[in-house]
């Protein structure tokens, strides 16, 4: 079987030894040389040839017009012909608009465009819209050589190739001789006078209607075919094209016969060298499949053959044609897309393929199914649509999709959301139209906004209100807008490296303004590590890195989800903390000399130093009632101890861990009740507040000639500009700066634990032993929180005491109060050996606490540490220190260097 699409013309005698390809492109290349098969140029996006397309364009329905183009490409068009020559149309505007739209449709834009117009201004307008290499249709000698060459020059300047019509000052060529003469002349002018590459010339030797009843027309098809052969044999490298549908114009309304004529005509034209043809790509027949009587009659007409029965070929054809009217025979079937069976999967298919043709039907179907089981329309967005967008994100990351396709998917998403919004609105109790408000900007000093614009588009498609501040936006404006607009999220973008610093600056300004909304960071040079280390530390709100536009929706959805918000923030915070710790431990952190670090110490405002304590000196509380501690318990670490990741109370509702969490929590509550009533644990504390001062990097507590010296470490790595090198001693006054105080404490809620543990052990109840130990840890932490509260409110007295019910335990657990209680071993004071001296100073043995040789406290659930009360006092990580600080520390601690090195090993590079 010889179907039209695989007839080769390479049996032609070519004058040139090697063929030079005509190189065209859309998003993908199309190279046409002598080995190429016949190239289909889609004709349906032509207002002069397709009434349906003309109606759509005249009605301004470009969305439907785009579908015409898509169908052409899906049906095999390798180039699409676009023509907007219609008297009632602003053709320049229509050409521009249509080409701009299909440029954003990757499955159309992948093929080159043939810009078709009889008006030069329309052609030029079209050439300004295509990034690929286009074909102009057409140039001719109609207005003389000078204009012909002028236009050819401009075509070259736009980087296009061109169709040249066999038309000159005398008119359109209708004989074989006129055709070849004009083509020869045009070829010589273009190649010799203009330097046009011959392979970039595509001749159109005029396809005219045959079987019109006029005798002179009978040879039109044959003359075209002969001219085609002549051109291919005499004009090296030039190609040949034609508007195929013209040939069957006499049989308008009889598609069966028209297709048969096209098929036969092409069959012969291609064998004689026709390179391409403007055709209805969906309706190319198969020469061998045509009914014999029809094919013979058509062939006689096309080749202008005399019949053996001497009947008139046209009359015979007309007679046969009547028999075949409207019996579809040959037309190639439109390529069927493989839409999945299940509606939800069709939605994902639509997103992945940027195809909206069945979107509303599918959405409606799913909506009704969900509605029937009592669900809500929003579930479609949160379910299949978000799942689809996730796949889009994955594919983009893997390089299986490219940007214009991602944008296309986002548009499908937008349409889907638009369809669902009225239903979602109707189902809502309160009326909140947008999912949230996002202020987005490219930071000061940077003008790159392509990525930011894409994020903005994708977010808007998902029903977020986006306030886009544009490029080069100063921190002040971002902060002001975020406040004025009550932004739910702020997004910062930037491409160039200096923008990284500016982002850190914006974060610091947001902190200064008291903002707490999440901050998203994106842009080519940003990274998760950079965000964690350089930006997040400046801002207390959640700061999160977004790797690419396709992920933005997912990140924002989680940041603003009422159920997921806290857990997500905690996950990010934990992840970024880990990154910072890893980074701090990495070799190669730039160290500065200790003297320089000290010169860059933090200098607190001493006017804000808290007043002298109400009560100084050592205090003991031998037995704190456990029930007072219960509300101070922070349960989140409890779950972490059981390997259940997440925050309390969210963890109880977690899809994956909720059930286990519930079980454990209920067991814990059970045991807790017994622990409290039966006093299976005992809580005790020693603590006090003493006069103290800073000396070098030490904190010294003193009382009647006795001193406790706490040698501390200072951050010694290169800090960003304007950031101090912290040491805990910075928060305490030096002797010459006035009086100051520091507290100290040792406490445990693990007393008597062994007694009950032994009881459990006897019944081999290991689970209860573990649970008891976990509770002891929780009670000890709660005791520390409770005691700190007592110290702040009663003993030091710088914080107002509150009565029972008005205590905000959540705020306490989240450490929203003035002052800190660093414990030896914390990243701010990583060295443990001070514990021995501290417990000594506090005489902690009185409540049964001691340390081992390696400075581990007994009982296991114990905490000891210091109270620093200055409002600026904060936790930080010392990180890597240098040898100079190591030596200095050894000297201050009266240690030999080797011992000091052992103690500080984790902080040495």
């Amino acid at each position: 079987m010889e179907s039209l699409s695989n007839i080769k013309n390479n049996h032609l005698k070519m004058t040139a030894s090697l063929s030079r390809p005509l190189r065209l492109s859309g998003l993908e290349p199309l190279n046409i040389d002598d080995d190429s098969l016949f190239v289909n140029v889609g004709e349906r996006t032509n207002v002069t040839g397709s009434k349906a397309f003309a109606r759509l364009i005249l009605a301004g329905d470009f969305a439907a017009a785009v579908e015409v183009a898509r169908n052409q490409v899906e049906n095999g068009a390798q180039i699409i012909d676009v023509n907007m020559d219609e008297a009632m149309l602003d053709s320049v505007a229509a050409m521009t608009r249509f080409l701009n739209i299909i440029a954003t449709e990757p499955d159309i834009a992948r093929v080159p465009v043939m810009i078709d117009s009889s008006r030069w201004d329309v052609i030029e307008a079209g050439l300004k819209c295509v990034q690929g290499r286009a074909l102009v249709n057409s140039l001719s000698l109609k207005e003389g050589e000078k204009e012909f060459l002028r236009r050819a020059r401009i075509v070259r300047r736009y980087g296009a190739a061109t169709v040249v019509m066999a038309f000159d000052e005398q008119g359109q060529a209708d004989s074989f001789e006129r055709r070849i003469a004009i083509c020869q002349r045009a070829y010589d002018l273009l190649t010799q006078k203009e330097g046009f590459a011959p392979e970039d010339i595509v001749f159109d030797p005029n396809v005219f209607a045959i079987a019109t009843g006029i005798d002179e027309h009978a040879s039109y098809a044959l003359d075209f075919i002969r001219a085609t052969r002549w051109i291919r044999e005499h004009l090296p490298h030039a190609k040949v094209s034609g508007g195929i549908s013209n040939v069957s114009f006499s049989f308008r309304g009889n598609d069966t016969v028209r297709e048969a004529i096209h098929t036969v005509f092409l069959y012969h034209a291609i064998r004689n060298g026709l390179t391409m043809g403007i055709v209805n790509a969906g309706q190319l027949g198969d020469y061998d499949a045509l009914p014999t009587d029809l094919r013979d009659a058509v062939e006689d007409a096309v080749l202008n053959r005399a019949r053996t029965d001497e009947k008139n070929t046209t009359e015979v054809l007309i007679e046969i044609a009547e028999r075949y009217r409207n019996q579809h025979t040959a037309g190639a079937q439109a390529k069927k897309e493989t839409w999945p069976e299940i509606a939800e999967e069709r939605l994902i298919f639509a997103l992945l393929n940027g195809n909206v043709s069945r979107l509303n039907t599918d959405l409606e179907e799913i909506r009704q199914t969900i509605g029937n089981r009592g669900g809500k329309a929003i579930e479609i967005i949160e379910g299949p649509l978000m799942r689809g967008m996730d796949i889009v994100g994955d594919r983009f990351g893997e390089g299986k999709m490219f940007l214009p396709q991602v944008v296309k998917s986002a548009r499908v998403m937008k349409e889907a959301v638009a369809y669902l919004v009225p239903f979602i609105e109707a189902e809502k109790d309160e009326n909140s139209k947008s999912n949230g408000k996002i202020v987005i900007a490219t930071v000061k000093g940077d003008v790159h906004d392509i990525g930011k614009n894409i994020v903005s588009v994708v977010l808007q498609c998902n029903n977020y209100e986006v306030i886009d501040l544009g490029v080069m936006v100063p921190a002040q404006k971002i902060v002001e807008t975020a406040i004025a607009e009550k932004a739910d999220v702020v997004g910062l973008s930037g491409l160039i490296t200096p923008s990284l610093e500016e982002m850190a600056h914006v974060a610091a300004e947001m902190e200064r303004a008291g903002l707490r909304c999440p901050l998203m960071i994106g842009g080519a040079t940003t990274s998760r590590v950079h965000t964690a280390i350089k930006i997040a530390p400046h801002y207390r709100g959640t700061t999160v890195y977004v790797p690419d536009a396709s992920r933005a929706v997912n990140v924002v959805a989680q940041l603003l989800s009422e159920t997921r918000r806290d857990a997500y923030a905690a996950e990010i915070a934990a992840d970024y903390r880990r990154i910072r710790e890893q980074h701090a431990q990495k070799k190669g952190a730039t160290l500065i000399p200790l003297a320089e670090a000290r010169a860059n110490a933090f200098r607190p405002d001493h006017a804000r130093t808290p007043p002298a304590p109400k009560i100084t000196g050592r205090q003991t509380i031998a037995n704190v009632p456990l029930e007072t501690l219960v509300p101070f318990i922070d349960w989140s670490p409890f779950f972490q101890a059981w390997d259940l990741p997440g925050r309390y109370p969210d963890i109880l509702d977690d899809a994956a861990y909720g059930e286990s969490a519930h079980q454990i929590f209920s067991d814990a509550q059970n045991l807790l009740g017994k622990v409290v009533t039966k006093q299976w644990l005992r809580a005790a504390a020693v603590f006090g507040i003493w006069p103290a001062y800073r000396e070098r990097d030490d904190i010294v507590l003193h009382e009647s000639g006795q001193t406790l010296r706490w040698p501390l470490l200072r951050q010694q790595y290169q800090r960003p500009e304007g950031k101090p090198n912290y040491c805990l001693s910075d928060f305490v006054r030096a002797q010459n700066e006035g009086n100051d105080y520091v507290g100290a404490f040792a406490l445990t809620a693990g007393l008597d634990l062994e007694k009950q543990a032994d009881v459990f052990a006897q019944s081999h109840d290991d689970y209860s032993i573990l649970m008891l130990k976990a509770l002891a840890d929780r009670f000890t932490e709660a005791l520390a929180e409770w005691l700190h509260y007592q110290v702040r409110t009663r003993f030091w007295g710088y914080e107002q005491e509150r009565e029972g019910a008005s205590i905000d335990y959540t705020a306490l657990i989240a450490e929203h109060y003035q002052g800190i209680r660093p414990a030896p071993g914390y990243p701010a004071c990583p060295e443990h050996s001070i514990k021995a001296a501290l417990l000594d100073w506090l005489n902690a043995s009185e409540i049964g606490m001691s340390t081992t040789e390696s400075f581990v406290m007994v009982p296991a659930s114990s905490i000891s540490g210091f109270y620093l009360a200055h409002p600026d006092a904060r936790y930080f990580s010392v990180g890597i220190i240098g040898d100079d600080q190591l030596k200095d520390f050894a000297e201050r601690n009266r240690l030999d260097e080797a011992t000091a090195r052992r103690y500080l090993a984790p902080n040495l590079s």
């Binding site: 090697l18 030079r20 190189r23 065209l24 492109s25 998003l27 993908e28 290349p29 199309l30 190279n31 470009f62 521009t96 739209i101 440029a103 954003t104 449709e105 834009a109 300004k128 819209c129 295509v130 990034q131 690929g132 290499r133 300047r157 736009y158 980087g159 296009a160 190739a161 590459a197 983009f396 390089g399 299986k400 999709m401 490219f402 940007l403 214009p404 396709q405 944008v407 986002a410 548009r411 000061k444 000093g445 003008v447 392509i450 614009n453 903005s456 588009v457 080069m472 100063p474 160039i496 490296t497 200096p498 990284l500 080519a524 040079t525 940003t526 990274s527 590590v529 950079h530 350089k534």
Partner: protein, 341 residues
């Protein structure tokens, strides 16, 4: 000694003998100077109504010494071709700083500075060339900025042509030997630059060699506007560029398959100047690769016979260029495919 008389011939002759070296990043080097707002403004723009820190192109007017020093550092490192500091010096990109009016002057001065430096170090054995850099601008002619209107554009072809024409005139006036249309992420923008160049050459009756360098932005192996490397080549080939290549995004390691593809099909010289790997905001240059790593990767391209001109983009420094110069000096350049066999 200037090379302006017939740079194309001289360059072609040299390219037959060896791989030529293009310089490295300008922005990365400028960052090392830690210039502040006042430095960027200089005397010229002390009272300018907007902040202009970050507008590296303006430095050719306000801190010419810095630019000169960077050019010299690259020439000392072995660069045969240095690029003018004009990546963003179009009226379009400058308008974001309120400095559209300064665009032409920036191009003239930047080309003059580069010309001075190149001439000072040129010898008959090692002539130096100035390539006038034409960046993509920060607008794209093929992508819609408006979600609800895919036909919308924030720049037109004609506006791009006008902006590029002005830049090209300035570069030619300042003494550029050639043009380098670089970091092409939307080929329609590049076509506007090529259109402007062709019109300019026709008007003045003199041609400069034009090089075009695209950017493959993501793992799909396409430009931002969606073209494959060969589609990109088909779009720019009609302008018969002196060289075609790839630069910027991805870095040499990930760029490899695309530079190979281009080297197979392009019937002209091939250039390649990748970033120093992927962005790494935690490193000093902002990018991953040391000079040794980049040099090792591009040496492989040279050994495969894929390239005629090698250099560096974002994150590369004179140390990178020196390492590249050393490592490819004895490797035979790619044989250029003949356009019309």
């Amino acid at each position: 000694m200037t090379m302006q008389n017939n740079p194309a011939e001289l360059l072609s002759a040299l390219l037959k003998k060896r791989i030529l070296i293009l310089d490295g990043a300008m922005g990365t080097m400028i960052q090392r100077y830690r210039l502040d707002e006042n430095d960027f403004r200089g005397k010229h723009f002390a009272d300018h109504h907007r902040d202009i820190k970050g507008n590296n192109d303006i430095l050719s007017l306000t801190c010419p010494d810095v630019i000169e020093e960077i050019h010299r550092a690259y020439l000392d490192a072995g660069a045969d071709i240095i690029e003018t500091n004009t990546f963003g010096a179009t009226t379009i990109a400058q308008s974001d700083y309120g400095l559209a009016d300064a665009a032409r002057k920036i191009n003239v001065e930047a080309a003059r500075i580069a010309r001075r430096c190149a001439d000072a170090l040129s010898t008959p054995d090692k002539p130096r060339f100035v390539a006038g850099s034409l960046g993509p601008t920060n607008r794209t002619a093929s992508i819609s900025p408006d979600v609800s209107d895919p036909a919308a554009r924030n720049i037109t072809f004609d506006e791009l042509v006008a902006a590029y024409r002005e830049a090209i005139e300035g570069l030619a006036e300042g003494g550029a030997d050639m043009l380098l249309i670089e970091t092409v992420f939307d080929t329609l923008n590049a076509k506007a630059a090529l259109f402007a160049a062709e019109a300019f050459f026709d008007d003045v009756g003199r041609r400069l060699p034009v090089m075009v360098s695209g950017t493959i932005t993501d793992a799909s192996g396409r430009t931002l506007s969606g073209q494959t490397p060969e589609a990109f080549w088909n779009s720019v080939r009609p302008y018969a560029p002196f060289a075609v290549g790839l630069n910027c995004a991805l870095g040499a390691e990930l760029m490899r398959p695309y530079i190979e593809a281009l080297a197979q099909i392009a019937d002209t010289f091939v250039l390649c100047y990748p970033n120093a790997g992927l962005p790494n905001p935690m490193s000093d240059t902002g990018y991953d690769e040391t000079p040794e790593t980049t040099a090792r990767l591009v040496r492989e391209f040279a050994k495969q016979g894929w390239v005629n001109i090698l250099g560096g983009c974002c994150g590369t420094t004179p140390e990178h260029i020196k390492a590249i110069t050393e490592t490819v000096k004895n490797i035979k350049p790619r044989a250029r495919k003949e356009a019309n066999p």
